[in-house]
C-alpha cells in the first residue's frame, strides 16, 4: 500500500489512524507482506540449500526406476517399475486399508455404542470397559501389540494353524483359497446383477404398494432368498464354473491361494478396534441426544420398539452422529499412515519413506503426500457438509 505517498494535509494523522477501515487495511497489508516475505525467504533458502546439496528439483524422478519390491500391490508392480508406480501402489494400499477399516469400524462402533445403552447391565458395562480401554491406549502401541506380539509370534509356515477349507494362519500371514473362474462364470455374475435389479424393483413395488394400500411386504427376506437362489441356479446350470486354488506348503512357504500379510492384518485390526471405541461414544451420544419424550410419544401412538427406532430415533440421532462420525472416518484414514511403523506398504511408508530416502526429493514427495491426504479430507468434508445441510432440522 502506498499510504506514505498519499498526502493528507487537512486531516490530522491521529484521525486516519483511528479510522477502522484504514486500520483494517493497514493491518491486513502488514500480515500479508509478512506472510509473503516469509514464503520468499523459505523459497530462497530452500533453493540455495538444494543447490549446495546437488538435488535437482522437479517431478522427473517419478519416471525413474524404483528398484525395490513391495510386498502387497493391487496393480502390477516389480522392482523395475517407476517411482510413479510406487506412488500409485502406496496410494491404493492406503485406500484399501482405510476403506475396509472405515466399514468394519463403523459396524463395530455402532454395535458397541448400542450395547453401551443396553438395558442389560453386563453388556452395557462390557461396552463401557471396551471403550475406556481401547481409546486410552495409543494407537501405535496397539499396532505394535498386534504385529510384534500376536501375529509375528504365530508359528512358522511349516507349523501353521490349519483351519478347515484350506485356511492357514502363520507368521507370514493368513492364507486362504483363491477363486479360479472357468468358462460360464460370467453367467453367475450376471445372475447376481439380475438379482440386485430384481430386488431394486421389488423394493420399489413394495414401497408403492405400501403407500397405496398400507400392506407391508417382507422385502428383506424376499431379497435374501432371491440373492441366494438366482446365482445358485446359474451355478447349477453352468456346472459350477468356479474352483478354489488352495494354498499348499512347498519348501518353507505356501504357494497358491491368497494371502493377507500380517502387516495389513495388524494395521487393520488396530485401526478398527481403536476407531470403533471413539465411534461407539459418538453413537451413544447421538442416540442419547434424542429426547426421551420422542420414544414415549411414539410408544403412546402404538409404534413398536423397532419401528420407533427406525422412524423416530435414528433419523434424529443420525443428524447428531454424522458430523463427528465423518471426522472419525478422516482420523482413521490419517491414522492408517502409522503403517510405516510396521512397514505395511502404504503411501507414507513406500513413498514418503523409501522413495524419499532413495531420491532425496523431500519437497516434492512430502508435498504430494500431504496433497493426497488433504484432498481426501476435503472430499469427505465436502460430501458431509452437503449431507448436513440437506438434513438440518427446520427451526423457527
Amino acid at each position: 500500500m502506498n499510504t506514505d505517498s498519499t498526502p493528507l494535509p487537512k486531516v490530522p494523522k491521529k484521525s486516519v489512524w483511528n479510522n477502522p477501515k484504514f486500520r483494517s487495511l493497514f493491518f491486513q497489508a502488514i500480515v500479508l507482506a509478512a506472510t509473503v516475505a516469509f514464503g520468499i525467504s523459505i523459497f530462497h533458502n530452500t533453493s540455495v540449500n538444494l543447490e549446495t546439496r546437488g538435488i535437482a528439483t522437479g517431478f522427473d524422478f517419478l519416471s525413474t526406476t524404483a528398484g525395490f519390491g513391495i510386498i502387497q500391490h493391487f496393480i502390477p508392480y516389480t522392482e523395475e517399475s517407476t517411482y510413479g508406480a510406487t506412488f500409485l501402489v502406496g496410494l491404493i494400499n492406503t485406500i484399501v486399508v482405510s476403506a475396509l477399516g472405515i466399514i468394519l469400524a463403523t459396524i463395530l462402533g455402532v454395535i458397541v455404542g448400542i450395547a453401551r445403552l443396553s438395558k442389560n447391565w453386563l453388556i452395557a458395562k462390557l461396552a463401557a470397559v471396551y471403550i475406556e480401554i481401547f481409546r486410552n491406549i495409543p494407537l501405535l502401541l496397539q499396532i505394535f501389540f498386534w504385529y510384534f506380539v500376536v501375529l509375528r509370534n504365530l508359528p512358522s509356515p511349516r507349523q501353521s494353524v490349519t483351519f478347515v477349507g484350506g485356511f492357514f494362519l502363520n507368521n507370514r500371514g493368513i492364507y486362504s483359497p483363491s477363486p479360479v473362474t472357468h468358462d460360464g462364470f460370467s453367467y453367475i455374475v450376471w445372475a447376481v446383477i439380475l438379482a440386485f435389479v430384481l430386488i431394486f424393483f421389488i423394493k420399489r413395488w413394495a414401497d408403492k404398494r405400501q403407500e397405496a394400500t398400507g400392506q407391508q411386504f417382507h422385502t428383506f427376506y424376499v431379497s435374501l432368498v432371491i440373492l441366494v437362489i438366482l446365482p445358485l441356479l446359474a451355478a447349477v446350470a453352468t456346472g459350477f464354473p468356479l474352483t478354489w486354488d488352495k494354498p499348499a506348503l512347498s519348501g518353507f512357504n505356501f504357494k497358491g491361494g491368497m494371502v493377507i500379510i500380517p502387516e495389513f492384518a495388524a494395521l487393520l485390526l488396530s485401526l478398527v478396534i481403536y476407531t470403533a471405541s471413539f465411534m461407539a461414544e459418538t453413537v451413544r451420544a447421538g442416540i442419547e441426544s434424542v429426547a426421551h419424550g420422542q420414544t414415549e410419544a411414539a410408544y403412546a401412538l402404538g409404534l413398536r420398539p423397532n419401528s420407533t427406532l427406525r422412524l423416530v430415533i435414528l433419523p434424529q440421532a443420525l443428524r447428531v452422529i454424522i458430523p463427528p462420525m465423518t471426522s472419525e472416518f478422516l482420523n482413521l484414514t490419517k491414522n492408517s499412515s502409522l503403517a510405516t511403523a510396521i512397514a505395511y506398504p502404504d503411501l507414507v511408508a513406500v513413498f514418503a519413506g523409501t522413495t524419499l530416502n532413495q531420491t532425496g526429493q523431500a519437497i516434492e514427495i512430502i508435498a504430494m503426500t500431504m496433497a493426497v491426504y488433504l484432498s481426501i479430507s476435503l472430499l469427505i468434508s465436502a460430501v458431509m457438509n452437503w449431507y448436513n445441510a440437506s438434513v438440518a432440522l427446520v427451526e423457527r
Partner: protein
Amino acid sequence: MTEQAAAEKGLAVSDEVMIDIRNMHKWYGQFHVLKDINITVKKGERIVVCGPSGSGKSTMIRCINRLEEHQKGQIIVQGVELTSDLKQIEAIRREVGMVFQHFNLFPHLTVLENCALAPIWVRKMPRAEAEEIGMKYLERVKIPEQAKKYPGQLSGGQQQRVAIARSLCMSPNVMLFDEPTSALDPEMIKEVLDTMIELAEEGMTMIVVTHEMGFAKTVANRVIFMDEGQIIEEEEPETFFEHPKNDRTKLFLSQILAH
C-alpha cells in the same frame, strides 16, 4: 359453556367401563409413589386429576398406557388387563391416545407426516388415506394451513394442537392429557383448552391432569385430588369446589384459586 351444559353432557356417559384401576401400587425402587389407586372410568366420562407437584399424577396416568409399569394391583383397559405381554400393551396403546406437557412432536417430520405416521405404520393404512385423516383432524384443531410446516416452525399452542390431532388420527377411545397447557403462554392456553372442550362435547372419554380449574368446573364429570401418591378425594365438580371434605383439598384449593 355453562354448568348446565356440562350437566347435560353428564347424560352422555354410558355404563360401559373403559378403564378400571384396582388397588394399584407403584414403587420407584424403594419409594412408594402410588398407593392403592382405585379409579373406574366409564365411556364418555371426563375426569380431571389435580394435586400438588410430585403427588404422582403423571405417574398414575402414564401407568394407564404402560409408559410406567405398576407392581401391584390391576389396570384393566377395555376389558384387557395390562401385563408385560407386549402384544396387549401395543393393542392398548393403539386405543389410548396421550398428549404430553411438552408436545413431543417429531421434529424431523412435517406436521402432516407427524399425524400420518402412526396410521401408516400401526394401522397399516395407505399413505393417501392416512394423510386424508391427518388433514381431517388438522382441520378439527383448526390448523390445516400448517400441514407442510415442521413442528419447530409453530408456536407452542399450535404444536400442542398438532399433538392432539396426531393422537386423534389413531381414533382412540380414551385420551390422556398430562398438563397439556402448563408449558404454554397464557394467550395460547385458551386455544388448546377450546380444542379439548370440543373434544369433550363430542363424547370423548378423557383423563386430564391439569390445574386449569375453570376447565375442571365446566367440563369434568368428576375431579380426583391426589396427594402423596394417594387419592384423597373424588367428587363431582360442584361438590369438589364448594364443599371439599378433606383439609388437604381445602388447602390445595385455597392455594390454587388464590392466584
